[in-house]
């Protein structure tokens, strides 16, 4: 046997109502044993479908998939007893303890009783859970749950391990620990690992990478080989005379520029091959080492030429001198548990401010209090100069809110959604018609106007959700994880709009777990265990990781958490 996975011409289509979704199109690849293969792509790229096909949970429409020499479709039970599989939301029984979960999966995998003790000790030691055996797994943190899930899928010492987005929703510290475990497995046991992820930066951790996009295989190779063509095409640009937002806007209009992104204090530019960067006397340009995302965006750009111009027909909002959002010693208790405490900061008008933190750090709770969805237990909170407790309805007229899951009425059409939200904000008659036309035009929704919004692709859903939140021209925009799951191009479009809004004086408050996105913001606050660790500009935050030369936001984050945990 000389492969871990071998697929040829794999096809899979799902039918949802009247829509056919081609989840995988003509996928052929080979994975050698004993390596980590990364399956990388945004949501709906087909990653989970491929994982499930490999686990024998789905039957391909055509083509074959062979696991360790066995046909995954016909010999699914045999395959299932030789592999370990960790689905996206790993099936831990939350009302069972750590030990009981391990026992269950040992029973199910038929691990002999006499081997178990040693095996469990080893796995729990590896996952750092030895002292939590008796704890209910529902009471573990997100990162610990993921590690336990990994341990459970390893009880039978599988030759091949399938991990479906194991790092989603995990804080950066646990993310690094998870990767360490996976590396050790490959090194010590020679396990083959197929791992899917939507975080492009994780590609660097893999021996080999498969890029999936909309069900198609874009590229395959080592991270270095995929990154190589980008060498010498990535630059940092700074300007003394124009703001970084205007600079970014100007640069992205250049024909040779593939990608221009705000990155802390500079703009990160990716050029076409042999492209010419326009030089200006007050610009400082220095080369940067390429990242994986750069090659991904470049590859997609070739395929997708439809990125529309965003002209930003947005009404200017008069800026006020006083802060738009003010928090003073905000506190929220649930019983004895402090979800948020001692949180104070201000956001001034036109600023883009981000709240960062792992799941359970208190950023969502803070966010909900800011939007008036949850009353604070103590402390002061003023939004648009109004106290949410007394003038709730008036304050809410001035804010727009876009929730985590792009919450739209799934069985209503795009137009019906827009109409409902504009009316819910009290628009009517001519005003309503005008805004409706504006939203459809501005967000290029004409082609899907009568489509049921539940059937839209994630990118469209995100655009529609933003349009709904902007129908009443709010002063402040609250965005709760606005880009989770959408592909890098859609994310760029989205941020371009946000920049425009901010330029017109709209204050934007955003939460995200893409640390990368924090770079696009003016200021950010990092939260852990309900408290704020640090507030500042991206550069100020990154300064926390002082011993690294070119620290990323993640390095800074990990450093801040470590400092806090140190006695």
């Amino acid at each position: 046997m000389n492969h871990a996975i071998l697929t040829s011409n794999l096809e899979k289509t799902f039918v949802a109502g009247e829509r056919r979704i081609e989840a995988l199109k003509d996928i052929s690849f080979e994975m050698k044993p004993g390596i980590i293969m990364g399956l990388i792509g945004p949501d709906a790229a087909g990653k989970s479908t491929l994982m499930r096909l490999a686990a024998g949970l789905l039957v391909p429409d055509s083509g074959t998939i062979s696991i360790l020499g066995m046909d995954a479709t016909r010999e699914s039970v045999k395959v299932q007893s030789t592999i370990g599989y960790m689905p996206q939301r790993f099936g831990l029984y939350e009302d069972l303890t750590v030990q009981e979960n391990l026992d269950l999966y040992s029973d199910l995998q038929g691990v002999p009783i006499e081997d178990r003790r040693a095996r469990h000790d080893e796995l729990l030691g590896m996952a750092g859970l030895s002292s939590f055996r008796k704890r209910l797994s529902g009471n573990l943190s997100g990162g610990m749950k993921q590690k336990l899930g990994l341990a459970c899928s390893l009880v039978s010492q599988p030759k091949l391990l399938l991990l479906d987005e194991p790092t989603v929703g995990v804080d950066p510290v646990s993310r690094r620990e998870l990767w360490a475990i996976v590396h050790r497995l490959v090194l010590d046991k020679g396990t083959s690992v197929l791992l899917s992820t939507a975080y492009l930066d994780e590609a660097e951790n893999c021996s080999e990478v498969i890029l999936l996009h909309e069900g198609k295989l874009l590229a395959k190779g080592t991270p270095e080989s995929l990154r190589a063509p980008m060498n010498g095409r990535v630059f940092s640009v700074k300007s003394a005379s124009v703001s970084k937002r205007s600079l970014q806007a100007a640069l992205s209009k250049e024909p040779d520029v593939i990608d221009a992104l705000i990155h802390g204090d500079h703009v990160r530019v990716v050029m076409e091959e042999n492209g010419v960067l326009p030089r200006n006397s007050d610009m400082t340009i220095s080369p940067l080492s390429p990242r994986f995302e750069d090659s991904f965006v470049t590859m997609l750009k070739d395929r997708r030429k439809t990125v529309q111009d965003i002209d930003g027909d947005i009404r200017e909002i008069p800026r006020s001198a006083s802060p738009v959002i003010e928090l003073d010693n905000l506190e929220r208790r649930f019983g004895n548990f402090y979800a948020v405490r001692n949180v104070s900061f201000t956001v001034s008008s036109g600023e883009v401010f981000a709240l960062l933190g792992a799941n359970g750090a208190g950023k969502s709770t803070t966010f909900r209090m800011l939007c008036g969805l949850l009353p604070p237990s103590a402390g002061k909170l003023r939004v648009a100069g109004l106290d949410l407790r007394h003038a709730a309805s008036k304050a809410r007229e001035k804010i727009g809110y876009m929730s985590q899951k792009f919450s739209l009425y799934a069985n209503l059409s795009v137009k019906e959604n827009l109409r409902f939200f504009s009316r819910a904000y009290g628009l009517s008659g001519k005003m309503e018609a005008e805004r409706l036309a504006w939203a459809i035009e501005e967000f290029s929704l004409v082609s899907v106007m009568n489509a049921v919004s539940g059937d839209l692709s994630l990118g469209y859903k995100q655009r529609l959700a933003l349009a709904c939140a902007l129908m009443h021209e709010p002063q402040i925009l609250f965005l709760d994880e606005p880009t989770s799951g959408v592909d890098p191009l859609a994310r760029r479009d989205f941020w371009r709009r946000i920049n425009l809004l901010s330029a017109r004086g709209v204050t934007v408050m955003v939460t995200t777990h893409f640390l990368e996105e924090a770079e696009y913001c003016d200021r950010l606050a990092i939260m852990a265990s309900g408290e704020i660790l640090k507030i500042g500009t991206p550069s100020e935050i990154k300064a926390a990781a002082k011993n690294l030369a070119e620290p990323t936001m993640e390095d800074a984050f990990v450093e801040l958490i470590r400092e806090r945990q140190a006695p």
Binding site: F334, R368, C371, G372, L373, L374, P375, S393, K394, R396, E397, I399, Y401, S403, Q404, K405, S407, L408, Y409, A410, N411, L412, E416, R419, F420, F421, R423, A424, Y425, G426, S428, V452, C468, F478
Partner: protein, 368 residues
């Protein structure tokens, strides 16, 4: 304010009607249920299987048996010649009743004397047993009167019985107005008990709460579709009752609709209250279920409230169905005018307002 409420209401309708399952639920089950349950829920006996064991050969016993055979309530299953089979047939539930006539039945009667015969009734369902005895008694009474007339005997003294509102004592007249109430409750609860929970699950409720809508506006916007659908369902079922089952409708249509409207107040209120307590749709559904089961059983739908122990009777005072059934039966069969229904109307209004108030309060103040 009304514009926003109107927008919410339109949205609720669209959300409900665009869902194929949702549409089906609103039309299919109520029609099937009124038809099936309308026929099934009755205490009128028909085709009760019985057997005869007669040792008498006289014509009078034959006359008596003919009277039984002529009744649509009874169906003759077997004529026995062996006494031992009597027990066997009853035990195995093949027949519910055995008529047993002794040797001297005809002879005694012909002599101008009196006589008796036996009916053996399966008492496993005591209510049916009691009805069988009553039906048999009616047949025998008529037989006696005939006999007295034809033989010139003294007529027995009788009671002149008259039943108001339901002269032939048809069970269906009692149950079908009840089913109108039952199905109205069922659909209204199903529609409302999921409306908030579904939005919470999908995250759109937060989106609704950050709009300038006040809880009262959301409450009204969510409640109105419940009312309209409730009225629609009630209309469908009432039409089926009147035109398919031919239940007399003596009261005024206006009174009926006023009663339905007032009943929908607590029905919608309870549904929304359950829905705003629930975190998931599943919990909403379970909640609705656990409210509906006792609400139906303890409503007087099948068994009179009067028969319940005092404490359970007190409990039924907070059951909206209890009042609704009284009103429905009154308006249908008795033509009760509105002012006589006031004792039923005000508790409904009270329960409705309390539950709606709790629901509205929970929209914003529920702990997460």
């Amino acid at each position: 304010m009304w514009k926003r409420i109107y927008a919410l209401m339109i949205k609720e309708f669209l959300a409900l009607m665009k869902d194929k399952a949702g549409r089906l639920v609103l039309v299919g089950p109520p029609v099937i249920q009124i038809l099936v349950f309308g026929y099934a829920a009755t205490f009128d006996l028909k085709h009760v299987p019985y057997a005869v064991y007669s040792e008498d050969r006289g014509y009078l016993s034959r006359d008596l048996l003919a009277a039984f055979q002529g009744s649509s309530s009874f169906t003759l299953k077997a004529v026995l010649h062996d006494e031992r089979r009597v027990a066997e047939l009853v035990q195995s539930k093949k027949v519910l009743m055995v008529i047993r006539i002794g040797q001297n039945f005809s002879a005694d009667l012909a002599r101008g004397g009196t006589t008796a015969f036996q009916i053996i009734v399966d008492g496993r369902n005591s209510n049916t047993a009691m009805l069988v005895v009553n039906y048999a008694g009616t047949i025998v009474k008529a037989f006696n009167e005939n006999l007295a007339q034809s033989h010139g005997r003294a007529m027995p003294v009788r009671i002149d019985t008259r039943a108001w509102f339901n002269p032939n004592l048809e069970s269906r007249w009692f149950f079908i107005p009840g089913i109108v109430g039952l199905l109205t409750l069922l659909i209204t609860m199903l529609v409302t008990s999921l409306s908030v929970a579904r939005e919470r699950e999908q995250g759109t409720f937060d989106q609704l709460l950050v709009t300038p809508m006040s809880p009262l506006e959301i409450l009204i916007g969510k409640a109105l579709p419940g009312f309209l659908i409730g009225i629609f369902e009630a209309t469908v079922v009432v039409l089926a009752a009147v035109f398919w089952f031919k239940i007399p409708f003596l009261g005024s249509v206006l009174t009926l609709y006023l009663c339905i409207l007032i009943f929908l107040l607590p029905a919608v209120g309870m549904g929304l209250m359950i829905s705003s307590i629930a975190v998931t749709q599943q919990q909403g559904l379970l909640g609705a279920f656990f409210f509906m089961v006792p609400a139906i059983i303890l409503s007087g739908f099948a068994t009179p409230i009067r028969n319940m122990p005092e404490i359970v009777q007190d409990l039924t005072l907070i059951n909206p169905m209890r009042y609704f059934l009284v009103m429905l039966r009154g308006v249908f069969l008795e033509g009760t005018p509105l002012h006589l229904l006031l004792p039923e109307l005000w508790p409904l209004v009270a329960i409705g307002l309390v539950s709606l108030a709790i629901a509205g309060w929970l929209f914003r103040n529920r702990m997460y």
